[in-house]
Symmetry: C2
Subunit: 197 residues, 2 copies
């Protein structure tokens, strides 16, 4: 059975992105290099985590993860990731306004979904076929899917830094009450990796 999964890097104080997102600063005030240091500095021990980012059949992401503009679409904006994005599969972007799909190099096609998180997931499941669907982020999108009980497995990489302000992953979110628990946990030098299911 294909799974619905999500991978998040969070800080010690439970933030997954900084406040003040802009075109120049997709993670807001947070330094993404510091947050994701575990992924790049200790590449060998993190092969497994990096593979988790690959191999899925479709992505779902919130509009803020796709771009910094709000309101009407800026049709010149085609995501943070340049002409050849890392997704390489159909990628469903949540939003309130319709927009034609955008085909990128390497297999990524951005589809814009206006009828809610369940409809977006349904389309992603269809597109993924036998493969998993990944809820890419950001935090508020992942929280919405969790609250709806639609995520099978969450992968947290906890980075030992403090952010103070930012998008709070856990505030007001009672994961045990939603049926989630920690099923696996391993520690590397730069991060603690926890699987919640």
């Amino acid at each position: 059975m294909p799974k619905i999964t999500s991978d998040l890097t969070i800080t010690l104080d439970g933030c997954a992105a900084g406040a003040g997102q802009s075109r120049e600063h997709p993670f807001g005030d947070m330094d993404p290099d510091r947050l994701h240091a575990w992924m790049f500095d200790h590449a060998e021990e993190n092969t497994e985590e990096k593979e988790a980012f690959a191999g899925c059949g479709a992505y779902v992401m919130g509009r803020n993860m796709f771009g910094p503009d709000r309101g009407e679409w800026d049709l010149d904006w085609r995501g943070w990731w340049g002409p050849n994005p890392p997704f390489q599969v159909p990628t469903f972007v949540l939003g309130h306004r319709p927009r034609p799909s955008v085909e990128m190099e390497g297999g990524t096609v951005y589809h814009f979904v206006t009828d809610g998180i369940e409809a977006a997931l349904e389309r992603a499941r269809d597109a993924a076929g036998e493969r998993d669907v990944k809820i890419g982020g950001g935090v508020s999108t992942v929280r919405q899917y969790l609250q709806a009980g639609l995520i099978d497995e969450l992968h947290f990489a906890l980075s030992p830094v403090l952010l103070g302000q930012g998008e709070a992953m856990f505030a007001g979110l009672d994961l045990p009450a939603l049926g989630y628990r920690v099923v696996e946990s391993t520690a590397s030098e730069m991060a603690t990796h926890v699987v919640v299911g």
Copy 2:
């Protein structure tokens, strides 16, 4: 220079104690054995952490850490820790109502302080002399001292479990804005240990 320190075990979702504290359940809904598993299951690798609990010259704790009763003191209640508590030094309990000091076996003397966190710390510093003072907990007491900038060093043991509901360590607390940052982090099999200063 003696330091003001605090040691806290927290969950992945940033809780340090459960809701629903009672005489039978000092940590509320949280299972303290699971939370503190790192300390007992892997004793050898945690000698350093356990030593951190010893060696200080005085403790400060909030009333809820001392006992489950609220309002007027139950004078028969002498803490959760029996006749010979582990503190073995003067221990200052914050509260709103005066109560005579209580001398226990082994060197622990409970003093009850009604004139606020700064007064309690002042008395603890005097009692500790050349040794460190530890802010024992609970979460709301530690948060008050952090917000007042009165803690020099925080030791977190992050236990990879989810609690969902409980006393939130970080909600609304911007530690970087208060001048704190992560100065050290090490991972063991059962917990990630982070020093914030």
